[in-house]
């Protein structure tokens, strides 16, 4: 029943690059660098980023439920799976590849906030946004609510919440 055409006319084409297929592209400022991303009518920003080799952003549901694909788009934390790449022309995107604040990375490690790590980049993006945006000291409730859109199946969240609270406290004390 197999219809093997591996030696047919498609052989040798590299299916990964959407631009090879003449598909439309957009120019997006990713982590301060302008990149051309493939963007058909159905390409999500998540898939466009990953196709461009930025695989630090993961995706676990592609329905906006898990938060693992979180990036910052023009200053707003978004699920990149829910953003159509073609709407991103000329816009600015910050991904995990931009870098992680040393204090946050250190606190996540010390509090055991990482196990399988699949949720971690998205969690870092959400935590970074939360820490950067808060006016007063973060309460436990605010951290809980601020990270409630990011699923983690391994850790039970305790270490993640403790790490964010600790970083907020240390930053406020000028440490």
């Amino acid at each position: 029943m197999s219809t093997d055409r591996s030696t047919g006319p498609t052989s040798g084409s590299n299916g990964r690059s959407s631009t090879d297929l003449g598909e439309p592209t957009v120019r997006v400022h990713v982590n301060g660098m302008t990149r051309e991303l493939g963007a058909t009518s159905t390409t999500s920003l998540l898939r466009a980023l990953r196709s461009a080799g930025l695989t630090g952003t993961t995706g676990a549901c592609e329905q906006g439920e898990c938060g693992s694909c979180s990036v910052v788009l023009d200053g707003a934390l978004v699920c990149s799976c829910l953003v159509a790449a073609f709407t991103c022309d000329g816009r600015s995107v910050t991904t995990i590849e931009h870098g992680v604040a040393a204090d946050l990375g250190d606190a996540l490690e010390r509090h055991g906030a990482v196990q399988c790590g699949f949720c971690t980049p998205g969690m870092v993006m959400a935590a970074t946004t939360l820490l950067d945006r808060c006016d007063g000291a973060l309460t436990r409730g605010a951290v809980t609510e601020g990270l409630a859109g990011n699923l983690c199946r391994c850790t039970g969240y305790r270490g993640i919440i403790e790490a964010v609270l600790e970083v907020d406290g240390l930053r406020r004390n000028g440490a």
Partner: protein, 745 residues
């Protein structure tokens, strides 16, 4: 300083935080193709025709594979080979693979899979596990619908006690819901073999099944671990491995695929739904006289690990108690429901919910505090395990677990002005005046390692070369931190040297699965022995070359100390690396006799949980405020990683208690999304309090025990007991739904 016993930094953490860690869906190859699985929309149907000619004109489609294309064994399976690589004339569950479409882009492969016309002839769906036992029901497998009936009997009569309670409980189908969906890349090799870069709990069990289906010798099937985005039992069975390997050998090109979430829900085996009927008999002072239990497990369409799951459900059906008479039976049956198999806790989770719920009924009947009732009945060193008769030895610190757990601090009353603290959270649905608090307590027990006569072993190699020390093992890092544990163990044997752990590979020797709380135990034992041998060889070499007695050669973190001189490893090793391979054999177990009696387990892990909940009984909303636990961990190899296992397991136990239920309607899965299958978020998760009880296990390397599974055992019944205490409701089913609390169901 010894590293075992300290919270050293995990070697994989930095890359996981900065996003550079390579998960299995990050692996690519030049010139790769993409696969998409065609799945049965029916729970039970004949496959009349598979019409591929419609795809022939699609320039992006490379090939379509189905059962006719499988060159070797058509049936595979984790334990028994009963599951076809593709549906072979009949689809037996919703989502069963029927064909695999290979195309030049992933999107084209999915689109083509959607366009493939499969003609089905629907068959009667056997979706009720009770009916599977009915001789009049269709037989779904040769030999009948019973996959295993594990009947254990010990002691005398199981009737006539002065006090008796009887009830039936149910637990739902739970999905592992690991975040990293199934994904892998298969590469054709020049020798006609295939290399897979994948995420799996068990490289060698996969390797055997792939080789059988492709009719290849084992050494031509090479498996290389890519990063695993969680597992929890859901990566023990074959899903995409054979489809990809076959596609790569047929096309001669690399082929990869990544499942979508809905597909992932359909593809891997899940926790068995269970019906648990219990009858407990006791003296007036609460001393248990007997446990009678009948447990029915819905195994779904194929065997997977149903046989040992049934064994586990039966052996832990009487809990960690001294019970003179036991008659328990666990039966796993075949249905047209999703395949059930391994999930963290492995049958003992369901049994624990039944037994602990029954214990609470008994406590209420006797008017004895539930914690006190347990104190009066727990196993003590030297007792016989209730279901097997096996002596429990000294590593059974149950009284201490109870004490340590109940001593942990209780949470404050919820702040009535804090919306985060109330059931329903910031939905502002509850008012503090309607909220009632409840406290529940439960104990759990499970064995670590495989049981019932399976010899447990693992092999590892330690290589010392001029660049340092490397551990080579096939153990799966599923997130639990086994790479850290193995490095810690090797480092201690080698005088504190830095140790790196190579990526797991099927060439590294058998390690078995990261399951049954066994990986650190068995592979840790192998690494200890291999590293100890490498250290001995290293000392011997230095002693000979420098003409000193071996006793004067000391391994240090930065080199080798010889008569006061610290020699760097590069000088000592030169161009001649030292390699030592060791196989660790765990103590043997035996199959039980005709009544299941015997030394069937290596040893056990025990745990206590206390849960505090706030319930709005008018709205049926639950906030699990706190779960406190004391766990028997042997020794904590890495206390921070151990804490992570306890917290994370409690989250999954909480999920089963109040949220998680993969539902099916006549065999068709109804909620295969994270929108409808709810796993706990930060807002749902309880605070945790933890006490580690370290009582070295004589069976374990360094005295260690497994730690991964106990956190999911008694967290669920403790939470439900707390909801019962708050509401007065009987609550015989998990997850507890709002209507169970408000009383409309």
């Amino acid at each position: 300083m010894r590293r075992v016993g300290t919270s050293v930094r995990r070697p994989d953490v930095a890359a996981k935080i900065d996003g550079s860690f390579v998960f299995s869906n990050d692996v690519t190859a030049d010139d790769e193709l993409y696969g998409a699985t065609v799945r049965s929309p029916h729970a039970h149907a004949r496959i009349i025709d598979l019409e591929t000619s419609g795809l022939a004109a699609d320039p992006e489609v490379v090939c379509v594979l189905s059962i006719e294309d499988v060159p070797g064994a058509r049936l595979v399976g984790h334990i028994v080979a009963d599951q076809p690589v593709f549906a072979d004339g009949v689809a037996r569950y919703h989502g069963e693979p029927v064909a695999f479409v290979v195309a030049t882009t992933q999107e084209a492969a999915w689109a083509a899979a959607d366009r493939l016309v499969v003609s089905y002839g629907p068959l009667p769906v056997l979706h009720d596990p009770e009916r599977a036992l009915d001789p009049a029901s269709p037989r779904l497998r040769a030999g009948g619908n019973v996959v295993r009936r594990a009947h254990l009997r010990r002691g005398g009569d199981v009737s006539g006690a002065p006090v008796e309670v009887e009830a039936t409980f149910h637990t739902a189908r739970q999905d592992q819901a690991f975040l990293g969906v199934e994904s892998a890349l298969a590469l054709p090799d020049a020798d006609g073999g295939v290399t897979l870069r994948l995420a799996t709990q068990d490289l060698h069990t996969d390797q055997h099944q792939i080789a059988a289906a492709l009719d290849l010798p084992l050494d031509k099937v090479r498996l290389e671990m890519a990063g695993i985005g969680g597992a929890f039992g859901g990566r023990e069975d074959i899903t995409l491995q054979i489809h990809l390997a076959l596609a790569a050998t047929v096309t001669g090109r690399p082929v990869r695929t990544t499942y979508r979430r809905a597909e992932s829900f359909l593809a891997h085996p899940k926790r068995h739904p269970a019906r648990l009927h219990y009858r407990l008999g006791a003296e007036l002072d609460g001393t248990l006289r007997y446990v009678y239990a009948r447990i029915l497990l819905d195994g779904g369409a194929y065997a997977s690990t149903s046989m040992p799951v049934a064994g586990s459900a039966a052996y832990f059906a009487a809990g960690p108690y001294r019970v003179p008479a036991v008659d328990v039976e666990a039966t796993s049956v075949c249905t047209n429901n999703p395949v059930s198999g391994a999930m963290r806790g492995f049958g003992a989770v369901q049994a624990c919910f039944g037994m602990e719920s029954a214990m609470d009924l008994l406590a209420a009947e006797l008017g004895i505090d539930p914690v006190e009732l347990r104190r009066r009945n727990v196993l003590a060193p030297g007792d016989a395990f209730p279901t097997s008769g096996q002596p429990v030895g000294d590593a059974a610190p149950l009284a201490e677990l109870i004490d340590r757990c109940v001593e942990l601090p209780l949470p404050q009353r919820a702040d009535p002005d804090d919306p985060y603290a109330l059931p329903g959270g910031t939905g502002n649905t509850s008012t503090a005046a309607n909220v009632r608090r409840g406290v529940g307590f439960a104990l759990g027990v499970k064995n670590h390692l495989y049981a019932e006569g399976m010899q447990e072993e693992a092999t590892a190699t330690v290589v010392v070369d001029a660049t340092g020390v490397e551990v080579r093992s096939a153990a799966s890092e599923v997130g639990q931190g086994v790479v850290s544990a193995l490095a810690q163990i090797a480092s201690d044997e080698l005088g504190g040297q830095e140790v790196r752990v190579a990526g797991a590979h099927s060439d590294h020797g058998y390690a078995g699965s990261s399951s049954a709380s066994r990986a650190t135990f068995v592979s840790g034992g192998a690494v200890r022995d291999a590293a100890g041998e490498a250290a001995r060889l290293l000392r011997a070499r230095v002693a000979q070359r420098w003409s000193v007695p071996e006793a004067e050669v000391e391994l240090r973190p930065t080199g080798v100390l010889v008569r006061g001189e610290l020699l760097p490893l590069a000088i000592v090793i030169g161009e001649e690396p030292i390699a030592a391979t060791a196989t660790f054999l765990a103590p043997s177990t035996e199959r039980g006799d005709e009544h299941g009696q015997g030394s069937v387990h290596v040893s056990w892990m025990f745990v206590a949980h206390r849960a505090v909940v706030d319930v709005d009984a008018q709205l049926g909303l639950v906030k699990v405020v706190q779960v406190a636990t004391a766990q028997d961990v042997g020794i904590a190899v890495n206390p921070r990683a151990v804490r992570g296992q306890l917290d994370g397991g409690i989250a999954q136990g909480l999920g089963l208690a109040v949220m998680e239920h993969l539902q099916s309607v006549e065999g068709v899965v109804a909620n295969a999304t994270f929108t409808d299958y709810l796993v706990p978020t930060t807002a749902d998760m309880a605070a945790t309090e933890v006490a580690l009880v370290e009582r070295p296990d004589p069976a374990g390397p360094f005295g260690l025990k497994g730690v991964g599974e106990p956190p999911v055992l008694s967290s669920t019944p403790a939470i439900v007991a707390a909801i019962r205490a708050a509401t007065g409701r009987a609550l015989t089913r998990v997850p507890v739904r709002p209507e169970d609390i408000v009383g409309t169901s």
